[in-house]
């Protein structure tokens, strides 16, 4: 055990953890909007819209995240019209490519979580709202969404942790996140166990925090 290396690499890894947290938070926020949009599309009665939303979540849940990142980072640059458009400003950056891939991926899982939450709302609650003369729009925003959020908290907490682990794939497109820096230190010092303990410890600490925040929110919004 090389304790000196562990102590020396700790600040470097902690700095890299900030990159991981940035990737995680941006993609979770974007992913939440994508997820909400597709969950609403899934509940639409039009069969084409419905099937489109199902197809999206099926494809993104059925393929590895690594493939999705590679298609966006290496693949999209091949399309000539895309290279000459303003979108190229975003797509040439590995940082934004990773975020797009993460957001689309977590969006697919989030849409499934929210859809099942919407479906478990008892029809009686919506009927009660209608009989009180509340408009459909207000029922949706003030009744369905708050209940759905509460219902989906435990599953969404798992999704956050899965996404936290997913951000490690950013290191495959040259980003220096926590895993990227850990790999760099391992390959220069050949001390995999020490670095694994420190980097893994930081990841575990982050999972621990997420787990407890979700638990707190569950308790707060329980009914």
């Amino acid at each position: 055990m090389d304790f000196e290396l562990m102590i020396n690499s700790f600040p470097k890894l902690l700095n890299a953890a900030v990159v991981t947290l940035k990737l995680l938070s941006v993609s979770l926020i974007v992913g939440l909007f994508i997820g909400l949009l597709f969950a609403i599309l899934r509940l639409n009665k039009n069969i084409f819209i419905n099937k489109f939303a199902y197809g999206y979540s099926y494809v993104f849940r059925g393929t590895p995240l690594l493939v999705q990142i590679f298609i966006i980072y290496f693949g999209l640059g091949q399309i000539e019209s895309l290279r000459s458009s303003f979108l190229w400003l975003i797509l040439k950056e590995p940082y934004w490519c990773a975020i797009i891939a993460f957001a689309l991926n977590t969006g697919a899982y989030t849409s499934e979580i929210l859809r099942s939450a919407f479906q478990t709302i008892k029809p009686g609650i919506i009927e009660a709202g209608k009989s009180l003369g509340i408009s459909n729009k207000i029922i949706f925003y003030k009744v369905q969404i708050p209940i759905a959020i509460r219902q989906s908290l435990p599953a969404y907490g798992n999704e956050i942790i899965l996404m936290l682990k997913g951000t490690s794939l950013a290191s495959t497109v040259t980003l220096m996140d926590l895993t990227g820096v850990a790999k760099y230190i391992i390959s220069t010092t050949f001390k995999p166990i020490e670095v694994f303990i420190v980097a893994g410890g930081i990841y575990l600490f982050m999972t621990f925090i997420v787990h407890n925040v979700i638990k707190f929110l569950e308790k707060k919004y329980s009914y």
Partner: protein, 230 residues
């Protein structure tokens, strides 16, 4: 389409072999995972706090740390660990373990942590009366497990195990970083030499979708078989 031709001109046969490799690694990893689960599930359910602690550390650490980091640990540390063990027995030559073994072991340990949780949940949701009835009827521990716990546990565990299988299958794409030629690595090579990454990575996505689709169909059949009588 000529890019996918079999033979020297296309990448069809290479990608086909790579797909078989992905299937082989996934199944091996899943089986390694089961053997880890067979060790750690009893520890989780044990009456001794210390044994519980060991099993909890295993599942918490593995499920809380990125898969890629675990793979790097095995990739860079695997040979060293084997050589250290061998040196105790007086063998000091350089030992290189191949990418297939490292990869399936790393993914297997991850898959094992998930399987352990699935089996624990399944055993715990078996009615207490079943265990008591087995005891009253004088079944031995071994017979109790084989005749009463296992069949009921499988029925409850199969839907969740199919999730674990999906996770394991998708995790194998990460082994490509160690150089094992499975779908992802082969697509990377093909994309590099043809300069057509969009096509090959999209094709890789299709292959993974196909694998998940087919395996879901097979698992559904298994599910029907084990839920007979319910």
């Amino acid at each position: 389409m000529e890019l996918l031709a079999f033979g020297d001109t296309g990448w069809g046969d290479e990608l086909f072999r790579a797909t078989l490799m992905t299937i082989a690694v996934s199944i091996t990893a899943m089986l390694i995972g089961f053997s880890f689960a067979a060790i750690f599930t009893p520890l989780k359910l044990s009456k001794f706090k210390f044994l519980n602690l060991i099993a909890n550390i295993y599942t918490t650490v593995i499920r809380g740390v990125p898969e890629l980091l675990v793979i790097y640990l095995f990739f860079f540390g695997g040979s060293g660990a084997i050589m250290f063990v061998a040196s105790i027995f007086g063998y000091n030559e350089y030992i290189e373990i191949n990418a297939f073994v490292t990869g399936s072991f790393a993914i297997g340990i991850i898959s094992g942590a998930y399987s352990t949780e699935v089996f624990r949940g399944a055993i715990q949701s078996i009615d207490k009366g079943q265990f008591e009835a087995a005891k009253v009827l004088g079944f031995s521990k071994f017979k109790q497990f084989y005749k009463i716990v296992l069949p009921q546990m499988l029925r409850l565990a199969i839907p969740n195990l199919s999730n674990v299988w999906q996770i394991t299958l998708k995790d194998t794409s990460l082994i490509s970083v160690t150089g094992l030629v499975e779908i992802m690595r082969q697509s990377y090579i093909a994309a590099g030499s043809t300069r057509d990454p969009l096509f090959f990575y999209s094709f890789a996505a299709v292959l993974y979708l196909l694998l998940t689709f087919i395996s879901m169909k097979l698992i559904n059949k298994l599910e029907v078989k084990y839920s007979r009588g319910y």
